[in-house]
Amino acid sequence: MVYRGSTEAFVAALTVTLTATLLAMTAARAADEAKYPSWKGQWNAIVAPGLEGRQFKFDPTKSRGLAQEAPLTPEYQKVLADSMAEQANGGLGNYPTARCLPGGMPRMMATQAQEYIITPETTYILLGGEDPLRRIYTDGRDWPKEIDPTYQGYSIGEWSEPDAQGRYTLLSVETRGFKGPRAYDSSGLPLAFDNQSVFKERFHLDKDNPNILHDEITVYDHALTRPWSVDKTFRRNPNPRPKWNEGSCVEGNNQVVIGKENYFFSADGNLMPTRKDQPPPDLKYFKPARK
């Protein structure tokens, strides 16, 4: 009887202890995950009325190119002027994205139909087209000793609760380590060719409207005379099950770059000049056609 009683007591105590531990772990994890904001849905970049809707812009309150009034150094102001002049003449200028190369930071943050997936360790921003994805690490890691250069950069973030209400509301992010050349928009508005840009961002929902997301972004770049800050805003699509288009820059691209020359494709699949009197590509590696 004593034996039976002590066995039951032991099993009961073990069960209660195990249960308490598991419940505490479950509750802790649930509480931890409940701390993160809900940024679910599809977010579309807000562009000031009257501006070209589908053109990428860094400052969404101004038109692209010169109208951005970027605080460029004289050297990079000339790069922009040259780029626009070359584009007016049919060239690509300082806009490699026309070759379906990634736009990278910060152009990629003007992409429409963004999705934010928040996990404790990483916030993912799913984009599309030639810039599909950003990973913002929030797992407390330090900067790696060596960063493999990329167009999107390496992002480390940190969640905070500035209003101290027990939930995270602000994601602060720093991004470094780039490839290039990169441009802010299709005019070729340049970032420094040394690719040493650093971006600091503050992502948060609008205080008055939870369906508006802000990305306050400041660029530190050697092509600028001072840091350049803009407040990019995105509106949440009210459809809880929005359409996600599979974007591919290559699909439907009607340009090709051969060497340093840019050509169009005609409807019948042949090369066409992009500017008046553009010479054709050199065919010296082909056998002469028989007459």
């Binding site: 034996y3 069960t15 009197d277 050199d282």
Partner: protein, 293 residues
């Protein structure tokens, strides 16, 4: 008597423990993410030693003809023609992906680079990279839409199953339908899917029962280019490092191949067009003014 008493005591304890475990499972379910499996990390393609060549759909067999795909006679010929064209320098039936268009399903699951699975209650994301960006498998209980926008990756709906009654989901079943885009191929040989783009894929994702760092994607293809459904068990191995390197890879970057119409050409080191195969004619330059001699 003593044995019977011990048995009663243990049985009562087990009942109590089972009740508590059930309570935990219920509470955990309410807690959300605790019921989903931990598939975090970088998952690489499982490589069977001794099988050379390019990555294949059935990882246990070589690519191309070695896959022994149950193709109809018509599509077997397309495969053979593709391989013959590639032997002469062409791209065969892999031409669209060679042009840096997405490869789509099922090639995107070959894991040319490591895959990442991001599991949330509403959607499981498979981050692929390269020309095939990612897959969304919707697990929010939605019905099939009346109209599906054609895509290379298809539209995927899944549901989670607690296959072992542990109170946690262990199996993700997914169905993926088109209409698909493309001419899609299973591998770089051009092993074709039907050009009608009406394939359907049924998948069961789950961790290996004895090795949690192996993930299975049991995938069955229903396609009009096949004489019967084709099933394979694709496996992925989880990288041990906590902070894996995610390589940013772009097909368009550094590619020395350009396409003019349906013809592929090399771009030489000096930036000029070169033939990709013997006696390939140059592109037609009829839209350019004749060069003065």
């Amino acid at each position: 008597m003593m044995q019977r008493g011990r048995w009663r005591a243990t049985a009562a304890g087990c009942r109590l423990m089972a009740a508590m475990v059930s309570l935990i499972a219920t509470l955990s379910a309410g807690a959300g993410a605790a019921e989903y499996p931990d598939w975090r990390g970088a998952w690489s393609r499982f490589v069977v030693r001794g099988i050379g060549g390019q990555p294949s759909f059935d990882q246990t067999k070589p690519w191309g003809l070695g896959q022994q795909a149950p193709l109809t006679a018509e599509y077997q010929k397309i495969l053979e023609d593709s391989i013959a064209d590639q032997a002469k320098g062409g791209q065969g039936n892999f031409v669209e992906h060679a042009q840096c268009l997405p490869a789509g399903m099922p090639f995107m699951m070959v894991a040319t680079r490591p895959l990442e699975f991001v599991v949330t209650p509403d959607t499981t994301y498979i981050l692929v990279g390269g020309s095939d960006h990612y897959r969304r498998i919707f697990t929010d209980g939605r019905e099939w839409p009346k109209e599906i926008e054609p895509s290379y990756s298809g539209y995927s709906i899944g549901h989670w199953i607690d296959a072992d009654g542990s109170g946690r989901f262990t199996v993700l079943e997914a169905e993926t339908r088109g209409p698909f885009k493309g001419r899609r191929a299973y591998d770089a040989s051009g092993l074709p899917l039907h050009y009608d783009n009406e394939s359907v894929f049924k998948e069961r994702f789950h961790q290996d029962k004895s090795e949690s760092n192996i993930l299975h994607d049991e995938i069955t293809v229903f396609d009009h280019a096949l004489t019967r459904p084709w099933s394979v068990d694709k496996k992925y191995v989880r990288h041990p490092q906590a902070h894996p390197d995610w390589v940013e890879a772009y097909c368009t970057e550094g590619s020395a191949m350009v396409f003019v119409g349906k013809e592929a050409y090399w771009v030489s080191a000096d930036g000029n067009l070169m033939p990709i195969r013997k006696d390939q004619p140059p592109p037609d330059l009829k839209y350019f003014k004749p060069t003065p001699r």
